[in-house]
């Protein structure tokens, strides 16, 4: 069954169709929420709330073919609300989550690569909420500028501008990160020698 057909079925109250649609979007929406908020606990709440809200409001979706941007618009609004709320709070759950993270890499190469990724994501986390959302939607969810504009409810020009300035910030941090990486590699070679 196509996505459009599932949407039409949900509009008539079909819970099984919602289940099928959930299967299609569960991972993408959960990971997206996680990248925006940085918390698995919060992401769970966000995705649950989004699907409940989806079932409640889906009749307002006139064109089923636009489901994804319609759903992500709702998901984004909910994620922003939680992210703003979490910002004011002590991120206790994040601390516990970080404790759960396992570092089982065996090679230094793998370790440094992971560290580079972590450093770059740390820079992404420093972006303001809207820049971060643009970056995640563009690079992780693979949405086009036009789709992102629909999700975020802004002009395409605004998306481009946010994308440009966010990339610029990340570029400079990547250069810095590369320098550090090279420096550490040199140091390692020196030590080995």
């Amino acid at each position: 069954m196509s996505e459009e057909e599932l949407v039409i079925k949900i509009q008539s109250g079909d819970m099984n169709a919602l289940g099928e649609l959930f299967e299609i979007y569960k991972n993408e929406s959960f990971k997206y929420s996680y990248l925006i908020t940085g918390s698995k606990y919060t992401s769970e709440d966000i995705v649950q709330e989004a699907f409940i809200s989806c079932y409640k409001n889906i009749k307002s979706l006139k064109n089923p073919e636009f489901f994804k941007s319609w759903f992500f618009k709702m998901l984004t609004r909910i994620a922003w609300r939680y992210a703003k709320k979490d910002k004011k709070s002590l991120p206790v759950d994040n601390i516990f989550e970080k404790l759960d993270e396992k570092n089982i890499d065996t090679s230094i190469e793998q370790y440094l690569r992971k560290e580079q990724n972590n450093n770059l994501y740390a820079e992404i986390e420093k972006l303001d909420l809207k820049q971060k959302t643009v970056i995640v939607l563009y690079y992780f969810n693979g949405l086009t500028v036009s789709e992102i504009a629909k999700v975020m409810g802004c002009f395409e020009g605004t998306v481009k501008s946010r994308l440009h300035s966010a990339r610029k910030k990340l570029k400079s941090s990547l250069i810095k990160c590369n320098d550090e990486y090279n420096h550490r590699n040199l140091k390692r070679v020196g030590l080995d020698g």
């Binding site: 819970m15 919602l18 289940g19 959930f22 299967e23 569960k26 991972n27 959960f30 990971k31 996680y34 990248l35 698995k40 606990y41 992401s43 769970e44 709440d45 995705v47 649950q48 709330e49 699907f51 409940i52 809200s53 079932y55 409640k56 709320k85 979490d86 004011k88 709070s89 002590l90 991120p91 206790v92 759950d93 601390i95 516990f96 404790l99 993270e101 992971k114 580079q116 990724n117 972590n118 770059l120 994501y121 992404i124 970056i135 995640v136 690079y139 992780f140 990339r167 990340l170 570029k171 990547l174």
Partner: protein, 272 residues
Amino acid sequence: MDKNFDENIDQKIREALIHKADDASNPENMFFRIRNEILKDKDNKGVFTMKHKLLNPKTFIIAGMVIIATTVTCVAATNLSGIFGSSSHLTEIRTFPSKDKVNETVGFTPKYVESFNNGFKFDTFNYVNNEVRNEKGDATEKYKSADFDYKKDGSKKGQILSMSAEKTDDKSFYGNMPKNASEVEYNGVKIIYTSSQYKSVPEGYKPTDEEKDLQDKGLLEIGYGSEKDEIKVSQNQSVMWYEDGLSYCIINMDYTELSKDDMINMAKEVIG
């Protein structure tokens, strides 16, 4: 910068996001919980409500008690400040949870029992999201507490026996005890007992002078945000203690047959 470097950046950003997202996997049974919540809302109310509402009178007791330990006036003066807890049926677990499950849910492992000698048996486990809010209503701190509910044969609707545990430090715990508290010591742990009347009221409720006086004496707790905007009064007892960085609280709401000793004995069973 040349084009290759730009492409490299694109690739790096994508890789960093994918790497980070690998940490997150969708919890099992999520759709089951979503469906249940939708059906429950349909059955009960005919309309939808969002999950994070202040739903449970029990939550207010917990909140009320902690508020007493920090500041009494803010509860009486405004609904914006204080400690607010919210839980959802979506996350309720009806099978006795393993220590790993509890740790995974709340980030710590408290002591807990499957049943008490007086006949109460485990019913549900859940976590509560708590927020400490300042006078503007902004959350200044957020934490989870573990919540174990118990029932016994013949339990009636509205009767609650619940044990909650949360991470805290001894200073906050012992800082300001309720005024009518009494304590006993067991295996080096101080068990604090209190009893009072609990009044669940709608948001915006203004306590009378008499109620404020009872609150000051620790004989009345007021919880705001009752369901259906009704005022409900119940008798409650509680035992609290602090052990290994965790505060524990067993709350009894309307099981009037339980005595002070019964409550203290339950605490002893958990302490072990």
